[in-house]
Symmetry: C2
Subunit: 400 residues, 2 copies
């Protein structure tokens, strides 16, 4: 009555692991600023619940396995605005981007197959790849280089006979790194030469700053047949709890495989899809406003981080995360200190230690990820708390 | 750039495969009674949408990975009514019973591991077991014996070194077979002797007829540590589109493994969980009414089926399915005839050929599954159409 051995290789979420200490700190009367998870405080557009509330069928029935056509069509229109042509048959609705990733890895991986992913990476990739019997081969990136990885030598060195796919998340979590269209072409060319799938997780697509263009692997028509785009309403529309995502591909074999898995789990939630369709009909100004808000937060968090002596951090170009190297050897120990010992005027801060975002043992121990999901004042105060915490922590640890 | 070889072993849903012919028949002006899928016409209790509409948070945020505590507590209370003690830590909310099955097989199976399942079985088991790299070993049951399988010799003969679990669905889909508590004890004893998991899919728990007691493997305390219960709001509350299910176990290792997978996919839809919690607070009379409705439909469909000369069918004790052997060699050919050639006063009927519910090659070609999800008049008329269809089909085919 054993469990599968692979379950041992899946680790508990490093993001949520410190939750209980944060809860204890709050119970002890401390205010804890939470920069540790990607749950924005931005309001979900009212049209979501308005559409849900209009649902008046007598039976909350199964929807189609591949999704409500109303939603597929709304997403198709959305892509057209960026000059990308994805029709109903290319767009499968999934339970969040998570299920799209799960279906993708389940469909393409044999036990022992490899997926190339730049590290640090969104930890749940590890869960999905491992659950599908596969192995992540990381491309190690560095804080000093802004965590960039669009480098032919770096990528080619990671390819083996077992490599099935290159998986990119741009704009990135946890680093905020953004691939330019040129970077994407470089990666696409390698995938073409070595006959690999490209899995492109583009859930932060619009969140690019400093005048950068919105980019997508979908803008490169040559690789349409090897491309699987992962998408979601969670971050774009601040609707994480709707659990509506998408698996998008023009590869018919892949869509057929995913359809079998989709039929197996019957369908996605009906009313959330109705709400999501309304979100996709929002005017372009919605994206501009959201981008402006996150860009100003990015500026605030970066400004404050730069006040920390010894920090290593390049200004990231997108998403709503920033990863930085602190002048501290063991960031997990520092976080425990922040939650259990430190306070400044009754306040402390929680962030995500970056070690859990690395596949390579020993890396990331001195790095943290910040999700800038709070308003600017709270973000400035949060990073100030990190700075004050570092000062006191170093004094305390050096004094021991 | 290949797909995983296992994807070839996952077949397209046999239930939905004939859809396009039904759509064509409807487009040609025929009325098509649909007995082919388990989507009841019973109204979802109003409290579901009422609770959803009351949601007034500004952000549709992630819920907890293992589920909203409000819903876990409501389910815990529900089980108490049957004398079963499952607390918050034993109840994980999943995206329908489907995800609970998916997580279970992913957690327990190594590639090549075997799961014993009575056939004919709910086809999606095959999708989940195969996607997890496992193999189904069927216990073949017979129409003549009411598809019963609680037989020590039958089960023990199927166990090998690779057997990991016995998976039961009672009340059953597609057969309507119901395990008594004594049957469950027999299976539990075997699982105990051979150290196997018991996966008990109990999504039709209340739908038992002729005065039968509600039964659950959860009523057998000796096997608590090896038991994984799959549950769902879909059928119980006619809320298939809510996609709210449950993985329930007292085995801490299993719950820990499932929690890792749950954290990987972040959470289930927030507003559907709020609606589901309201469903679980419904009065006992709701279950009595639903049971009475389905029992009277069961009687109607059985009565009408018995008018077909040569049919083999025992009156099933539960769920809302019935499987029967028709006096026809090739039921798929018969269904094509019904959808493309037959009509009686402009009406025809769609059902599920049972071949797709068997793992053993060649079985079920002369069997059909009927989901009695329509009102009694429509059900009687539907089965009448099957009877008329058989008469004409036989005359036609014999005449050729």
């Amino acid at each position: 009555m054993k469990l599968s051995e692979k379950m041992d290789r899946i680790l508990q979420s490093p993001i949520r692991r410190f939750n209980k200490y944060a809860i204890e700190a709050a119970e002890n009367g401390k205010k804890v600023y939470k920069l540790n998870i990607g749950q924005p405080d931005v309001e979900t557009p009212q049209c979501f619940m308005d559409a849900v509330k209009k649902f008046d069928e007598k039976v909350v029935a199964y929807s189609e396995s591949c999704g409500e056509t109303e939603l597929q069509d709304a997403v198709s229109e959305y892509f057209k605005k960026y000059g990308m042509d994805y029709g109903r048959d290319d767009i499968m609705v999934t339970s969040g981007g998570s299920e799209a990733l799960n279906m993708t890895f389940t469909s393409i991986l044999e036990p022992g197959d490899e997926v190339i992913i730049p590290e640090p990476f969104y930890t749940n990739y590890s869960t999905f790849v491992t659950a599908a019997g596969g192995v992540i081969v990381p491309l190690t990136t560095k804080a000093e280089e802004g965590y960039s990885y669009a480098n032919k030598g770096l990528i080619e060195a990671a390819i083996t006979d077992r490599t099935k796919a290159i998986c990119c998340l741009s704009p990135g979590n946890p680093t905020g790194n953004v691939l330019s269209l040129e970077d994407m072409k470089l990666i696409a060319d390698i995938a073409g030469e070595r006959d690999l799938w490209i899995i492109s997780d583009e859930v932060y697509r619009e969140f690019v700053y400093d005048g950068r263009d919105v980019t997508s692997f979908g803008m490169l028509p040559d690789i349409a047949d090897r491309l699987i785009i992962i998408d979601s309403v969670s971050k774009r529309f601040s609707a994480c709890g709707a659990r509506v995502g998408f698996l998008i591909t023009k590869n018919r074999d892949m869509m057929e495989a995913a359809t079998k898995l989709a039929q197996g789990r019957l369908c996605c939630p009906t009313i959330d899809q109705i709400g999501a369709a309304a979100l996709y009909r929002l005017d372009k100004s919605y994206y501009d406003d959201a981008r402006a808000e996150y860009e100003s937060r990015r500026d605030a968090v970066y400004d404050e981080l730069m006040k920390i002596p010894g920090i290593v951090c390049r200004k990231p170009g997108g998403s709503f995360y920033i990863t930085a190297k602190l002048p501290i050897d063991d960031v997990e120990d520092f976080l425990m200190y922040m939650l259990t010992e430190f306070d400044d005027n009754g306040e402390t801060v929680m962030f995500a230690p970056a070690e859990g975002f690395y596949a390579t043992e020993g890396l990331g121990k001195d790095e943290i990820r910040i999700a800038y999901v709070l308003n600017k004042d709270d973000i400035r105060r949060s990073v100030e708390l990190i700075r004050l915490g570092i000062e006191r922590y170093k004094a305390l640890r050096n004094g021991r």
